[in-house]
Subunit: 152 residues, 2 copies
DNA sequence: TTAATTGCAAACATTTTGCAGGTTC
DNA sequence: GAACCTGCAAAATGTTTGCAATTAA
């Protein structure tokens, strides 16, 4: 009843709304905001980073809603959780099959094309189980291993 | 509790003590206890599980010491951290190259022989970096994929 | 002795939860 | 109008840290 102008979906939002609907996610303002931000391009964001960016864009979203939404989007297959750091879940907007390269010194996470790695000969699975996914993480250090005895 | 006999290193402890010394770790009672428990056979234990088992064996070890020791043993190459669950680090007493199979429903973690999987064609690494390790985690679900209403 | 190690509890960071109030269809 | 969603704050992990007391070499 208030004379607030109705929210006009932008082009980007329109696409995201369709996507959310297609995946059975009710497109609320917060979810649209979060999904638009994440799906705009392939990237890796933590919940905290999502919160900061959404707020930076002028919208208000609570921390709880960010967590709820990221969990929902993951369950619905719109984003993917990546576990490389034990203390922080990263959400990957690239849900196509691919692997990761993780720089342990900097925390930088980078996609690896699936073609670049071949995983073959998977083991016999426990009975009654199916593969949900195969995660490959190449961990790299920024400095070459230094010999323990002699310096350079 | 008073007239507790002085702790005599058992055969197992003797081996562990040598191992600790060989890796530059001062063999204190707590470290011996934790290392003996972990290295007794290939297994995956969380810090909490280590704490419970050490105490079950009659020794007292504080939570802080368990965390400190597990971190130390990891740094010294006696155990390996496995990150599959974002909310819990698992310590693997098998430091030989191998991969993991993770049952997401039960939390069960199982080793996969490296021969069972082939990872080839690693990508070009960022300049100045070296591979620290390649983690492969096969995630399986206990139930077959149920058909979703809409295609993926 | 002397330096390292332990234990306790408080601090911390991340994520989850309960519930009142708001929004949507 | 009914059902769902959001926000706030408190709770629930899991892990780290500060510092005094203890232990090992």
């Amino acid at each position: 009843m208030a004379d607030e102008p109705p929210r006009q979906p932008s082009d980007a939002s329109a696409g995201v709304i369709s996507l959310l609907l297609a995946h059975g996610v009710a497109p609320t303002r917060q979810r649209i905001e979060i999904a638009t931000l994440l799906l705009e391009r392939p990237q890796h964001l933590s919940a905290e980073q999502v919160l900061v960016r959404v707020r930076a864009s002028g919208q208000h979203v609570s921390k709880a809603t960010v967590y709820n939404t990221l969990g929902l989007l993951t369950r619905k297959g719109l984003v993917r959780e990546v576990v490389v750091d034990p203390q922080r879940v990263v959400y990957d907007s690239n849900v196509a099959p691919h692997y990761h390269l993780y720089e342990v010194d900097t925390g930088r996470l980078e996609d690896i094309e699936p073609a670049a790695v071949s995983v073959a000969g998977l083991p016999s699975l426990p009975p009654g189980t199916v593969i949900e996914g195969v995660d490959v993480v190449v961990r790299v250090r920024s400095r070459p291993a230094e010999p323990s005895a002699s310096g350079v």
